[in-house]
Symmetry: C2
Subunit: 138 residues, 2 copies
Amino acid sequence: MSDLLARLRDRHWRLTAQRRVVAQVLDGDHVHFTADEIHARAVALLPEISRATVYNTLGELVALGEVLEVSTDGRAKRYDPNAHHAHQHLVCESCGTIRDVHPSGDPLGSLPATERYGFSVSGVEVTYRGLCPNCAQK
Amino acid sequence: MSDLLARLRDRHWRLTAQRRVVAQVLDGDHVHFTADEIHARAVALLPEISRATVYNTLGELVALGEVLEVSTDGRAKRYDPNAHHAHQHLVCESCGTIRDVHPSGDPLGSLPATERYGFSVSGVEVTYRGLCPNCAQK
DNA sequence: ACCCTACCTTAGACATTGTCTAAGTCAACA
DNA sequence: TGTTGACTTAGACAATGTCTAAGGTAGGGT
Ligand SMILES: [Mn+2]
Ligand SMILES: [Mn+2]
Ligand SMILES: [Zn+2]
Ligand SMILES: [Zn+2]
């Protein structure tokens, strides 16, 4: 994630304490936190950080392509720092656990030209749903 | 959609004016309205119908498997009466238009056993994103 | 046809998630 | 070290969805 800070410096970002803390919370490639979860963890490191700044910083990281926005449940969006390796998600319907998964083949290839209705198709999101081992054993 | 009313009667649903109107708004297999859009159209047919009843009725139709809930944009959920033919969605990133599409192959099959982490995988949602012909011509 | 009553509907309060504004603060550059 | 425009903040506001208590009614029983 220090890579991330370097990239942001290159883009003439001001490196404020607040932005450092948000980046630190997102460190680790397999987290999928909501904005409020990120805010709570950020407050533990920098008590005076505001909700607005967390939302602002996350929005900027998404616009820069450094973080992905994931909506797996129609509730709060989740923020995914694993933006540099294409992947999809497997979600437990019971406890909400999210795993990164890597399907075989190109997901875009599954949409035939006759099903594209003249769209220029540029991306695809796949969400697999099921029960995780913990929740499956009732 | 009269099929739907018959099925609901069979399940001992009370056929109230409000429920008839919600079903009528959802008639047609290729609509993807938000709850508020459905409420606005329902009010045009039955002015005193409340927001709570629309939400209640939609939730019940989803629980019965007669309507699908679709979250394509992280904003309001959309309600899809085309619940009896498996399909996926193609969304215009600019204007939000949604088309039903039918990918080739079984979308579930693209997730190898080694990527399932012990989950019992029961479903998959695929959202293709791009620009519709109207929006593509700037 | 009329009652009952369990189920349904309603208005509006409340909850969650996200956006915006105006005023104060500070990181980076000179 | 001073300057300045970008950044942060508290809190109001907005959008979407949930809940409750009170009143209404569909449909079975008579
Ligand atoms: Mn991920
Ligand atoms: Mn559909
Ligand atoms: Zn689980
Ligand atoms: Zn479009």
